[in-house]
Amino acid sequence: MQTCVRVCAGGFALLIGACQAQWVSPYSAELHRRATDMLADVSTWEVQMRDSAGTIAADPRHPDVTAKLQKWKGDLVAMEAIELGVDPGSTSCDQVLGRLQILGSTKSSLPMTPAASSSVGAGSLFSFGNSTHLHCETLPDVFSTMNTQLNSSIPASLETCKLPWLPDSYFVSLAEARASSGAPGAPRPKTQMVGAAGGESLVQATEDVQIKVAFNCRSLFLSEKKPDGSETLHGDLLSQITLDLDSIIYREGREAPLAK
């Protein structure tokens, strides 16, 4: 059990000893690894989509595309569970920052954990011996924004890659054929319109239409030029989710124990 000595010196209250402040949730190697793996997967998929833009493989109805988004949703659930397990409390870190007072400038006490910060006051002392530390919630919105990306933003934007001369039924058949036999599926139909069901309105796959669809789809996955002439790492579609993953990796990297 940690022993802590409360010392009042010069108007400040200090908590010293074997106690260590731990406001930010401890390092999680598992979370670090999962975020890194997912970032690599997203980056690889971006290149594949860029190369297959305008083909069936990039159509959001293709089983591979839907499977990829489902996989990432699963990865996100796993990472959220890890984060919750490591960091079950409560207060946002910006609120913690708002309450912290650097020693020497004020007479306020320095809370050891965010949970204790609720009793911050001039000259107040803190007792602890509670081995359960609550941490402030870092990156409180990162998982919700990734959820929004996977459930809403990315699917909506991927409509740009939809081949308007192919009906939904084609892709349903493709998925069923794969599920039943493991075969790659029916060959890609050429320029004629495939019979539609349920009032789907299809477009004739003229060369102009195909070129336009391919160009527009590819635009989602191309880097943007920056003012200094360099390029962004990712295209418009995946820039936000990769930033989210980067932030998690950056945070975990800062907390990672030093190699011995």
Binding site: D141, S153, S219, Q240
Partner: protein
């Protein structure tokens, strides 16, 4: 160029926010310059690119709105990362102070009390 205008607007906003947000003696302006501004440069490029592609008819309204909403979320995440770094910095400062005090006390006592 439009991207320059967007980048300038984002940077000025970030610097103004940092000046108003110094907390507990921790000057966040260094983190803003070293972390936030470079990422905002990326975000500015994406915002400008999305708007230009919408104007050119490459993106539909729905796509452009979804992508621009994503960029707004990106700004939020970048700032939250800076907050995380700020808390980590203060945490490290506090732990450094406590380690030094522990050493002084044990040294004065001549034995390891803490």
């Amino acid at each position: 160029m439009f991207v320059d205008d967007v980048k300038l607007a984002l940077e000025q906003g970030a610097r103004a926010g940092a000046a108003a947000a110094s907390t507990a003696g921790k000057d966040l302006r260094g983190d803003i310059e070293n972390y936030v501004i470079p990422h905002l440069s990326d975000i500015a490029a994406h915002v400008a690119g999305i708007v230009e592609k919408r104007a050119a008819g490459i993106y539909t309204d729905t796509t452009a709105k979804a992508l621009l909403d994503s960029q707004a979320d990106s700004i939020k995440i970048v700032v939250e990362t800076v907050v995380t770094l700020a808390v980590l910095e203060v945490q490290q400062i506090v732990n450094g102070i406590m380690a030094a005090l522990t050493s002084v006390i044990n040294s004065r006592l001549g034995f390891t009390l803490l």
